[in-house]
């Protein structure tokens, strides 16, 4: 199960961004996980809780935004959902010049953290 390694990578990157910015505690992390990213959201959520222990992320929520896969045929321009297991040849013309429009995302989108230092007004929530 590599979701623990993925979770540790998330914690490492968020911690690396939050600490220098003066964050005291991270409240939530939003991730995009593509349908074809090869990551199981439930396993990642479980691992994330463990990976956060003892860091600035302890107790943070992991908010996973699933991204459906979409493919486009270079020959006939048809767009289709490849499904699982994915069909990456064109269901219309059997073409193989396929482009994946989405579905491989594994991206930290947004982080919400508490900090003590005063910041410019645009970054504050009352």
């Amino acid at each position: 199960m590599h979701e623990m390694s993925i979770a540790l990578a998330v914690v490492d990157q968020v911690d690396g961004a939050a600490r220098p910015a003066g964050a005291t505690a991270v409240r939530s992390v939003r991730l995009q996980v593509g349908e074809l990213a090869g990551v199981v959201p439930d396993a990642l959520t479980f691992s994330f809780q463990l990976a956060c222990a003892g860091t600035a992320l302890e107790g943070a929520d992991l908010d996973i935004e699933p991204v459906p896969a979409r493919a486009r045929c270079g020959a006939c321009a048809r767009i289709w959902p490849p499904g699982m297991p994915p069909r990456l040849t064109c269901p219309g013309c059997d073409g193989t010049d396929t482009e994946l429009l989405s579905g491989r995302e594994l991206q930290i989108v947004r982080v919400c953290w508490h900090d003590t230092a005063p910041h410019p007004p645009i970054s504050q929530e009352r």
């Binding site: 199960m1 590599h2 390694s5 993925i6 990578a9 998330v10 490492d12 990157q13 968020v14 911690d15 690396g16 961004a17 220098p20 910015a21 964050a23 409240r27 991730l31 593509g34 074809l36 990213a37 090869g38 990551v39 493919a71 699982m84 297991p85 994915p86 069909r87 990456l88 040849t89 193989t96 396929t98 482009e99 994946l100 429009l101 989405s102 491989r104 995302e105 594994l106 991206q107 930290i108 989108v109 947004r110 982080v111 919400c112 953290w113 508490h114 900090d115 003590t116 005063p118 910041h119 410019p120 645009i122 970054s123 504050q124 929530e125």
Partner: protein
């Protein structure tokens, strides 16, 4: 106070940056890395031993690292080829990562190595997510594993530059349908080459070595659909440094929560 920060970073950015650095460092010394992935017992070691032996006979400098959770058995087998071989013990980790690999190569990899073969941990799930800086990613499946293996493990087969079927000498005994297997590979990775091999019968001897050498010498490598994304989800923004943790995060944007 709560700040919302649009971080927009690939989760595997650090691994990808390390892999990128490794690929460039290896290329600068004339070495190409070949990453071998398969389930346990599909015949990675047997095929690799044969190809390493062939390389030595042809006078091509090659080396191999083999990764397992435990035992040095595979390194002992590969060392029979008489080329430089090293065992990586992952202590339970189910895959290799680029930084880990870089550490093992340091002060070990002979300078004249043209091809470095990495026998990844036997696992078709986790290793698929980690770029090791390879020039060629090869996914193997033995005839005993069934024709639907590419559909069950679409990420692994979908990201392969080359697919190799092993143990074809027993294909008939296990009723392996090669055409169905090829069709399933084509579904998840259109256009990828599939080669049949049998170490026992000498089928496909040298195919792996020849393809790896061609890739090393700049021949075009198959581009899997799964990597033909409209935006490079793993390569957004500035590359992160490989050795330090997120040293360059000066560009994070803030927004109202």
């Amino acid at each position: 106070m709560c700040r919302v920060v649009d971080l927009q970073q690939a989760v595997l950015a650090k691994n990808d940056a390390c892999a990128h650095t490794l690929r460039e460092d290896l290329a600068a010394r004339g070495t190409a890395l070949v990453n071998l992935l398969s389930s346990p017992g599909s015949g990675k070691t047997a095929l690799l031993e044969r190809e390493l032996t062939l390389a030595r006979e042809r006078g091509i400098p090659v080396a191999a690292l083999t990764a397992d959770l435990a035992t040095e058995n595979d390194a002992v087998r590969l060392a029979r080829s008489d080329v430089p071989v090293k065992q990586i013990l992952t202590d339970g980790l189910c895959h290799l990562e680029a930084e880990m690999l870089g550490g093992h190569l340091k002060d070990w990899l002979p300078a004249d190595t043209r091809l470095l073969f990495i026998e990844n941990v036997g696992n078709l799930v986790c290793p698929a997510s980690y770029d090791l800086g390879e020039t060629l990613r090869v996914v193997l499946a033995s005839v005993t594993e069934g024709e639907d293996k590419p559909l069950k493990y679409p990420t692994a087969f979908g990201l392969a530059h080359l697919v190799v079927v092993t143990k074809t000498d027993i294909a008939e005994a296990v009723s392996f349908d090669g055409e169905e297997f090829r069709a399933n590979v084509e579904r998840v990775n259109p256009g990828v080459e599939v080669h049949l091999t049998s170490v026992r019968q000498g089928v496909g001897e040298g195919v792996l070595l020849d393809r790896a050498l061609a890739a090393r010498d700049g021949a075009p490598v198959h581009i899997p659909v799964m990597t033909r994304t409209s935006h490079h989800v793993h390569d957004d923004g500035e590359p992160q440094p490989c050795d330090e943790h997120s040293a360059d995060l000066g560009t994070v944007a803030s927004s109202r929560s």
